[in-house]
């Protein structure tokens, strides 16, 4: 219909050439237009850390506490990563917490009671998550029960299944070395540095290749300085984190040495990269956003909406299984309350605080990690300051409410300014 010669005066050429200032202005106008993204979570994190650092400089700022933050927040963050997929469709999974409990109970039964090797137990736990997710997804997509009701029923039923699996109130210990290591051991400092370098180099390679590809094709792309800044930013953050985590945090070095990046950190990082890739770079991920944005449009575009809806519940429950494994590892055991009490609400809170919209169509896996960090910092910092669990719940609730208000208000703002 047209030749490449026409493209020169095409719509792409109308946009002014990119520059750092222009990039910053575009970002600012987007934020002002209501597209705040992860900004509230990042600001919240900075404010919370500053407050706790001032109030409790010795304990909150210690390397040991920094490492604790990761292991404390890991399970909730992992569950939240799966919840992002469900939230992207505007659905909810209230059963994710106890689904992780069921999977953890399966893990403990397989490895401790039945005596199979750790990897069989892990596979069994994740398979349990897949079965749970498939069931929930089928009920929501094929029968048409609202996800709120289906997963509320799941919430109650799975709570019972955990009780049945751990034989009414006793607990099952998890003593397998590999499983215990997940949330309780650290990488050697050298391995930590190696992985950090690998991550930065990989990120830089992806960013630079994409930039070169776009420039070569004559497409608008971010200025190279912005790309470099992004890479440098990641390098600084990772470098600082690995440096602090590699400091000695043992109270008495003569008895045992305690340093290095907790093993759970690279696990979260790998899952973050994998799921981000799936959401941003595959057509499956694109279809998830499409179904979340306008289900009818997605259906008319030939997307199998039911398949997408079922699959997000499968992803969510599988990630809940991973969260359950980490929780079991951290506690060295599974009891009837694993995945119970505040786990689910913290996970939903983490996703929403990070910037995932409850209305569907907007959110990233990174949101879950940022929001999980906020939740972990509140929990940890308030604990250090000696507040009771009651105060912690109230504060977390208020923060969640704030995050949901930011979401709702930014949508209104966006509707008013026409950016959404």
């Amino acid at each position: 219909m047209t030749t490449t010669a026409v493209r020169k005066d095409g719509p792409a050429a109308v946009t002014p050439p990119p520059s750092i200032g222009g990039h910053a202005r575009t970002y600012l106008s987007r934020v002002r237009g209501g597209d705040v993204g992860a900004l509230p979570a990042v600001l919240g994190l900075i404010v919370l850390c500053t407050v706790f650092a001032v109030m409790q400089p010795s304990s909150f700022l210690s390397a040991g506490n920094f490492a604790n933050l990761f292991t404390q927040g890991a399970a909730v963050t992992l569950i939240a990563m799966g919840l992002v997929f469900v939230l992207l469709l505007g659905e909810i999974d209230l059963s994710a917490g106890f689904a992780s409990g069921v999977c953890a109970a399966v893990l403990a039964n397989v490895v401790t009671v039945l005596g199979y090797p750790w990897w069989v137990a892990v596979l069994a736990a994740i398979a349990t998550g897949l079965v749970i997710g498939t069931t929930l997804g089928l009920l929501v997509a094929k029968i048409g029960i609202p996800s709120f009701v289906v997963t509320l029923a799941g919430f109650l039923a799975f709570q019972g299944i955990v009780l049945l699996l751990v034989k009414e109130g006793t607990n099952i210990s998890v003593r397998d070395n590999v499983l215990v290591a997940i949330a309780n051991r650290n990488l050697t400092p050298a391995l930590g540095w190696a992985l950090a370098v690998l991550a930065v180099v990989g990120y830089a390679a992806v960013q630079l290749l994409r930039h070169r590809n776009r420039v070569a094709r004559g497409l608008i792309s971010d200025p190279i300085a912005v790309v470099a800044l992004r890479i440098a930013g990641l390098a600084v953050i990772l470098g600082a984190a690995v440096y602090v985590l590699n400091l000695e945090r043992s109270r008495n070095v003569l008895i045992s040495s305690l340093k290095g990046v907790p093993i759970v950190v690279p696990i979260i990082a790998v899952l973050l990269v994998v799921w981000t890739f799936v959401l941003q770079r595959t057509s499956y991920g694109r279809h998830i956003y499409a179904v979340g944005g306008n289900r009818e449009a997605a259906r008319r575009a030939g997307i199998d909406v039911d398949r997408i809806r079922i699959s997000v519940f499968m992803i969510c429950s599988s990630m809940a299984a991973v969260g359950g494994i980490v929780a079991a590892s951290r506690a060295n055991s599974v009891d009837p309350n694993t995945g119970g009490s505040n786990v689910l609400l913290y996970a939903v809170g983490a996703a929403v605080i990070g910037g995932t919209s409850l209305f569907g169509g907007k959110g990233r896996v990174l949101d879950a990690v940022l929001g999980g960090a906020v939740v972990a910092v509140i929990e940890n910092g308030m604990g250090l300051m000696g507040y009771s669990a009651g105060v912690k719940y109230v504060v977390t609730g208020v923060v969640l409410l704030l995050a949901a208000s930011v979401d709702a208000l930014s949508r209104r703002r966006a509707a008013a300014t026409g950016t959404r």
Partner: protein, 272 residues
């Protein structure tokens, strides 16, 4: 314009339960022409379009595409033939950008990875080919576009796939004056580029502004299909409201609304 019509429908019947919505409908659509499909609410325009696009199966009748008999059983069949429909409610995702919307459901990939640069280039070429210069960035979210711009994107999306027949369902219904002119100009350009265009519209001004032929549906029957130059505004209104206008339209009453002659005369009298 050309000898063989691109799409020819013969004797299409369609019922929903006891309600017969389309009755022995015939329609010919020629490449390079805009065929306006007019009719009152409930005349069966949308049903006819859904039959052509494969959403509804037909009860009887045949489809000829480029003179060849074809069977359209699903939207995929229709897309395979090069038939694209731009729906009234646009069917765009607000949370995706222009390129993402244009390729939705048919993304270009290299391996399992989305091939964004190629998609962006193709989208830019398509928009440039339609002389669309109203959008500033291909990467802006559709939510930030005006109604006319959205309609433009929806039409460009339909054209992207080397489609041969584009069906537009009330493309100007929600638009202001300037935007309507913009979209009509685009509709005309599609036909001038050699595509066959079916335009569903209630607005007679739009119909007379861009169409080459007018097909009028009345209570599920195709009452007339004539060149736009051979018919007057008032005659089209009569065809829509009464199913006949002088020598045009229904010759014998089919008993669908009992005494059809009387209202036809009174309405035509009123308009003259």
């Amino acid at each position: 314009m050309s000898a063989t019509p691109l799409l020819e429908l013969r004797g299409i019947d369609k019922s929903f339960g006891p309600v017969q919505v389309l009755r022995d409908v015939a329609l010919t659509v020629h490449p390079g022409e805009v065929t306006a499909l007019v009719g009152d609410n409930g005349a069966g325009k949308s049903t006819l379009v859904k039959c052509i696009s494969g959403i509804h199966p037909t009860d009887a009748g045949e489809f000829l595409f480029n003179g060849e008999p074809v069977h359209i059983g699903s939207p995929r069949d229709a897309a395979g033939l090069g038939i694209e429909v731009v729906y009234q409610d646009l069917a765009l995702c607000d949370n995706l950008d222009i390129v993402q919307n244009m390729f939705l459901g048919r993304e270009k990939r290299s391996g399992i990875v989305l091939d964004e640069p190629t998609m962006e280039q193709l989208a830019a070429e398509t928009l440039a080919g339609l002389s669309i210069r109203t959008v500033t960035s291909l990467r802006q979210h559709v939510s930030s576009l005006s109604g006319g711009q959205r309609q433009t994107v929806a039409i460009a999306k339909a054209v992207l796939w080397n489609s041969k027949l584009v069906i537009l369902d009330e493309p100007t219904a929600a638009l202001g004056v300037a935007q309507t002119a913009q979209v009509l100009e685009l509709v005309r350009r599609l036909a001038d580029n050699g595509l066959a265009v079916v335009l569903i519209s209630h607005n007679m001004n739009d119909v007379f502004a861009v169409s080459d032929r007018i097909a009028a549906l009345y209570l599920g029957q195709m009452v007339a299909q004539v060149r736009t130059t051979d018919i007057t505004h008032a005659q089209v209104v009569e065809l829509i409201t009464a199913g006949r206008s002088g020598a045009l339209g229904l010759t014998t009453e089919t008993g669908s609304n009992g005494d059809g002659t009387q209202p036809a005369d009174s309405i035509s009298g009123g308009l003259r």
